[in-house]
C-alpha cells in the first residue's frame, strides 16, 4: 500500500467536508419537521400539555419562537451544536441523555447482526461464484431470493414462536437482560463487553442469549443482498481479462482466487456494506419493537406514536451522524483497498 497516512487523513478531511451538505440538509429537515408539525412547539418544551397559557408564552419568548424563521433556524443550529436537543415529554429527560443511554443497545444489536451477516454471506457468495450452476450456487440463489422477501417483523416473530414457544431454547424475548438478572456496571454500555470486562460470564451468557434472536432476525434480512453482491462481483471478476492473464501465467488457484479475484471483488461488497448498515439502522425500528429492545429506535418510535416530537428529531439527527460516520469509514476502507480512487 503506497497510500501514505497523510494522504488518508487528507482524504478523510475532504470526505467529512463533502458530507457537510448532507448533514446540514438533515438539520434543516428536522428543523422544518418541528415547525410544520401540528401543534405548538412551545407546548412541548414547557412543563407539559397542562402548562398554563402564561408559561407557554414565556417559553415561546425564551425559545425565540416569536422571531422570524431564519433567525429561529440559526438558533436551532446553535442549540444542536451545543448538544441541546430538547426534552422528551414521555420520559421527562433531556433527549440527549436518553439517546446516550439507549444508543449502545442499538449499536450492540446492529454490530452483532452485521457480524453474523458478513461471516455467513461472504463465504456463501464466494462458494456460489466459484461453482456457478452447482447445487451450492442454486442453494445460495434460492436463499437470496427468499431472504429479501421475508420482512424482519415476520421472521422475528416466527423465530420467537419456534425458539421460545415451541423449543424453549431462547429466553423471554423482551429486552436486553432478564428482569431478574443484575446489570453490569455501565462502562461502555455494550452489555457483552461490560460483562466480559467485569468477568461475569454468567451474565455474559444471559445477555448473549437475549441478543441472539434479534441479531439473527436482522442478519437474515441483509444476508441476501450481501451474498448476492459478493457472488455477482466475484463472478464478474473471475470472468475478467486479468484473471485470464493470471491463469495464462500459471499462477496457483489459491493465488488467483484470493489475491487476484477476491481482493478485487470485495470492493463493490464494501460499498454495499455501507448501504446495508444503513438499512439495518432502519430495520432496527422494526426489530426493537418486536423484541422490546431498549434502543434508540424504539425510543423514537414510542415518542412518535405519542406525538412527542423532540426525541424523533434527535433520533433522525443521530441517524444522520452515524450515517456520515459509516460512510466515512467505508470510504476510507475503499481508499485503502483501491489505489485508483486516491488519484481522482
Amino acid at each position: 500500500m503506497r497510500t501514505s497516512l497523510g494522504a488518508t487523513t487528507g482524504r478523510a478531511a475532504r470526505r467529512l467536508l463533502s458530507s457537510a451538505p448532507a448533514l446540514i440538509g438533515v438539520l434543516v429537515f428536522t428543523f422544518l419537521l418541528m415547525r410544520v408539525l401540528p401543534g405548538d412547539p412551545a407546548v412541548f418544551f414547557a412543563s407539559g400539555p397542562n402548562a398554563g397559557q402564561a408559561e407557554i408564552e414565556a417559553v415561546r419568548k425564551q425559545m425565540g419562537l416569536d422571531r422570524p424563521i431564519p433567525e429561529q433556524l440559526l438558533r436551532y443550529l446553535g442549540d444542536v451544536g451545543t448538544g441541546q436537543l430538547g426534552r422528551s415529554m414521555t420520559t421527562g429527560q433531556p433527549v440527549m441523555k436518553d439517546l446516550r443511554e439507549r444508543l449502545p443497545a442499538s449499536l450492540e444489536l446492529t454490530f452483532a447482526a452485521l457480524l453474523i451477516a458478513l461471516t455467513l454471506s461472504i463465504p456463501l457468495g464466494i462458494l456460489a461464484a466459484l461453482r456457478p450452476g452447482s447445487a451450492v450456487d442454486h442453494g445460495v440463489r434460492l436463499l437470496c431470493s427468499l431472504g429479501v422477501c421475508v420482512p424482519t417483523f415476520v421472521s422475528g416473530l416466527l423465530l420467537i414462536y419456534v425458539f421460545y414457544y415451541l423449543l424453549g431454547f431462547a429466553p423471554d424475548p423482551t429486552g436486553r437482560l432478564d428482569v431478574f438478572a443484575a446489570a453490569p456496571p455501565g462502562i461502555t454500555g455494550f452489555l457483552l463487553i461490560d460483562f466480559a470486562l467485569t468477568g461475569d460470564w454468567e451474565g455474559w451468557r444471559a445477555a448473549a442469549a437475549q441478543l441472539v434472536l434479534p441479531a439473527v432476525t436482522m442478519a437474515l434480512f441483509v444476508i441476501a443482498p450481501l451474498a448476492r453482491i459478493t457472488r455477482a462481483s466475484m463472478l464478474a471478476v473471475l470472468g475478467s481479462d486479468f484473471i485470464r492473464t493470471a491463469r495464462s501465467l500459471g499462477l496457483s488457484r489459491t493465488q488467483i482466487v484470493v489475491t487476484y479475484a477476491l481482493r478485487n471483488a470485495i470492493l463493490p461488497v464494501l460499498t454495499i456494506a455501507g448501504i446495508v448498515f444503513s438499512t439495518m439502522l432502519g430495520a432496527n425500528v422494526l426489530v426493537e419493537k418486536v423484541f422490546s429492545w431498549p434502543g434508540v429506535a424504539s425510543y423514537a418510535l414510542d415518542a412518535l406514536l405519542s406525538s412527542d416530537y423532540a426525541p424523533v428529531q434527535g433520533f433522525v439527527l443521530l441517524m444522520a451522524v452515524i450515517f456520515v460516520a459509516v460512510n466515512l469509514v467505508v470510504d476510507l476502507l475503499y481508499g485503502l483497498a483501491d489505489p485508483r480512487v486516491s488519484i481522482s
Partner: protein, 552 residues
C-alpha cells in the same frame, strides 16, 4: 525433430442459447522452435479461438470437440488442470488484446511480475523484485525503478502492453502467443510495441504466434502466415508469396481489400478493368479554382476544463472537395468533426458554411437551422450508430420527416431510394439493428445521412470497426455517392492509406493542432513534417512483390 507445436484436426464448439456453434472445424498447423507464425483472418474466422484452445483458456462455453494439440509431443488438450498450470507461463505464454484490462488493476506492476516469476521459480520476494526490475528494463520502460510500484491505471496503453510482454516472457516460455497485441493502440505505439516483441522473441529464441487482422503486420513480423476463414485454414505460405500470389479465392479477396501505399479504390473491390477506364486513379477532379468556399474554419478552439482538445485549427473546403483529417488518438480529429457538424459548441473561432457564420449558432438550436440539412455526418461504430428500437426504415425516415417535412408515399419513396443507393436491399428495410450485419448497419448510417440530400458530409472513421473486405465495399460506395451527388467530404480517419485513396487533400493533426497540410499525393509521397514522416513510417506495409522488410 518434431516441431514445438503441432495442431492436428482441431475443432472447437461453443454452446450458445441458439445451440452449439462450430468455431473451429478441423485445423492443422505447426510451429517450429524459434519460428514466427502469423494467423490472419477477419472477425469470426476462429483465429483467436485457436489461440485460446491451444492455451486451454477458452470460456466455459467453449469446448475442444476433437483433434490434438501437441506441444513438445505432449497432447495439451488431455492435460489436467495442475499439469496445464505448470505449462502456463513457463512453457506457453499469451499476450492479450486490451492490455489495460489484462492487468490486475489493484496490484502494482512489480508485484504482478513477482507473482508470475514465483509461480514457477523458487525465489525470495527480494530476488523476485530484482528480477522484475530487469524485466521492466528489458521491455524498455523508462524509469523502471519507479514503475515497479505503479498501478496499471498510472501507465499508458502502450506501457501496459510492455508490462504484459514482460509478464509473458518472465519465465522464458518456448512459445509466445500474441492475440491482436496492438489493436486499439496508435500506429506509432503499435510499431514500438511490435518491434520490441519481435526483438525479445528473437533474442530469447522463443517461437511466436501472432494473431492479427492486419495483413501488413503479419507480413512485416512473421516468417510464415496462415489465413483462416470461418473456422477453417484456407492457405499457408511465406508472407511474400502469400500476398504476391494468393492461391485461395478468399485470400485473393482479402489481399485485394487491404489498403496498401499504392492501392486505389478500384483495386480494393477487385475491379480488373484496364487502366484508363472505370474509376480513375486520381480520386476526383480538383474543383475549379475561384469557386466560392463551402466551408471556412478559422482558429477553432475547444477547451474541456484547462485542456484544449482542439487548439486553433483552420481549414477551407470547396464544394465537392474531399478533405482528409488524420491523426492519432487525442489529436482532436473527432472533436473537430463534431464542432463543424455543430453537435458541440466551440470555445473560440469561426465556422463559415456557404458564407454564413454557423459557429455562433448554439449547438442547442442548430437543429432549427436551414443548414442542418446541408451538413450531415456518418458515425464510426455501426453497432451504436443506430437506435436499437428503430427499424432501418425509421432510422432513415426520422431525419427526413424532421428536416424536409416529407410524409406518406413521398417519404417512403425517398427512404427506399436512399436505401437502394446505399446498397441496402428493400427486403432489409423493416429489420431492426440486431438483425443486421455490421456492413448493413454501416449502409443504413450512410443512407440516413444522404437521404436529406446534404451538400457536405462528415465521415467520422466510417469503416474503423469493419472488416477489410466490408471496408472496401463501403469506401467504394462512398466514393460513388460523392461523385453522383457532388458531395463535399470531410473524412476523419486514423488510417492513412484509406485517407490517401479517398481524399484530394489531407490535414495531419497532432495534439489539437495542424502539423501538415497538402495534396494527398504529395503529402504521402514526400511528407514535410517529422511527425507525418513518423506516422507514415509506422504503418506496417505489405508490398506485393517487394522483399520482406524483416524476417524473424
Amino acid at each position: 525433430m518434431s516441431p514445438l507445436l503441432r495442431i492436428e484436426n482441431l475443432s472447437v464448439t461453443f454452446a450458445t442459447r441458439a445451440g452449439p456453434i462450430e468455431a473451429l472445424r478441423g485445423i492443422d498447423l505447426t510451429v517450429g522452435a524459434g519460428q514466427t507464425l502469423g494467423i490472419v483472418g477477419e472477425s469470426g474466422s476462429g483465429k483467436s479461438v485457436t489461440a485460446f484452445a491451444t492455451t486451454r483458456l477458452l470460456d466455459r462455453a467453449g469446448r475442444i470437440a476433437g483433434g490434438r494439440i501437441l506441444f513438445k509431443g505432449q497432447d495439451v488438450s488431455r492435460l489436467s488442470g495442475k499439469e496445464m498450470q505448470a505449462l502456463h507461463g513457463a512453457a506457453i505464454s499469451m499476450i492479450f488484446q486490451n492490455p489495460r484490462a489484462a492487468l490486475n488493476p489493484i496490484r502494482t506492476v512489480g508485484l504482478q511480475l513477482a507473482d508470475a516469476l514465483r509461480a514457477h521459480r523458487d525465489l525470495s520476494a527480494a530476488a523476485a523484485r530484482a528480477r522484475a526490475l530487469d524485466l521492466l528494463k528489458a521491455v524498455l520502460i523508462r524509469d523502471p525503478e519507479r514503475r515497479l510500484d505503479a498501478y496499471p491505471h498510472e501507465l499508458s496503453g502502450g506501457m501496459c502492453q510492455r508490462v504484459m510482454i514482460a509478464l509473458a516472457v518472465a519465465c522464458e516460455p518456448a512459445l509466445l502467443i500474441a492475440d491482436e497485441p496492438t489493436t486499439g493502440l496508435d500506429v506509432t505505439t503499435q510499431k514500438t510495441v511490435m518491434d520490441l516483441l519481435a526483438r525479445i522473441a528473437a533474442e530469447r529464441g522463443m517461437a511466436m504466434i501472432l494473431i492479427t487482422h492486419d495483413l501488413g503486420l503479419a507480413a512485416k513480423y512473421c516468417g510464415r502466415v496462415v489465413v483462416m476463414e470461418r473456422g477453417r485454414l484456407v492457405e499457408e505460405a511465406a508472407p511474400g508469396r502469400l500476398f504476391a500470389h494468393p492461391q485461395h479465392a478468399y485470400t485473393k479477396r482479402l489481399v485485394a481489400a487491404s489498403p496498401t501505399p499504392n492501392s486505389t479504390l478500384a483495386d480494393l473491390v477487385g475491379e480488373t478493368r484496364p487502366a484508363g477506364s472505370g474509376i480513375p486513379a486520381a480520386p476526383h477532379p480538383a474543383p475549379p479554382r475561384g469557386t466560392a468556399l463551402l466551408l471556412e474554419v478559422q482558429d477553432l478552439v475547444k477547451r474541456y476544463g484547462n485542456a484544449a482538445a482542439v487548439d486553433g485549427i483552420s481549414l477551407r473546403m470547396r464544394p465537392g472537395e474531399s478533405l482528409g483529417l488524420v491523426g492519432e488518438s487525442g489529436s482532436g480529429k473527432s472533436t473537430t468533426s463534431r464542432l463543424i457538424c455543430r453537435l458541440i459548441d466551440p470555445s473560440e473561432g469561426t465556422i463559415l458554411f456557404d458564407g454564413q457564420s454557423i459557429g455562433d449558432v448554439p449547438a442547442r438550436d442548430f437543429h432549427r437551422s436551414e443548414l442542418r440539412r446541408a451538413i450531415q455526418i456518418v458515425f464510426q461504430d455501426p453497432n451504436d450508430s443506430l437506435n436499437p428500437r428503430f427499424s432501418a426504415f425509421d432510422s432513415i425516415a426520422q431525419p427526413l420527416k424532421r428536416l424536409t417535412g416529407l410524409r406518406g408515399a413521398a417519404l417512403r419513396a425517398r427512404v427506399m431510394e436512399s436505401a437502394e443507393r446505399s446498397g441496402l436491399g428493400p427486403d432489409l428495410i423493416d429489420r431492426f439493428p440486431h438483425q443486421l450485419s455490421g456492413g448493413q448497419k454501416a449502409r443504413i448510417g450512410i443512407a440516413r445521412a444522404i437521404a436529406v440530400r446534404p451538400r457536405f458530409l462528415i465521415l467520422d472513421e466510417p469503416t474503423a470497426a469493419l472488416d477489410v473486405s466490408v471496408q472496401a465495399m463501403i469506401l467504394h460506395l462512398l466514393d460513388l455517392l460523392r461523385r453522383e451527388d457532388d458531395l463535399a467530404f470531410l473524412f476523419v480517419s486514423h488510417d492513412l492509406n484509406v485517407v490517401r485513396m479517398m481524399c484530394e487533400r489531407t490535414i495531419v493533426l497532432q495534439n489539437g493542432r495542424v502539423v501538415e497540410e497538402g495534396a494527398s499525393e504529395t503529402l504521402f509521397a514526400r511528407p514535410q513534417s517529422a511527425y507525418a514522416r513518423e506516422l507514415l513510417a509506422a504503418i506496417p506495409h505489405f508490398d506485393p512483390g517487394a522483399p520482406l522488410a524483416a524476417t524473424a
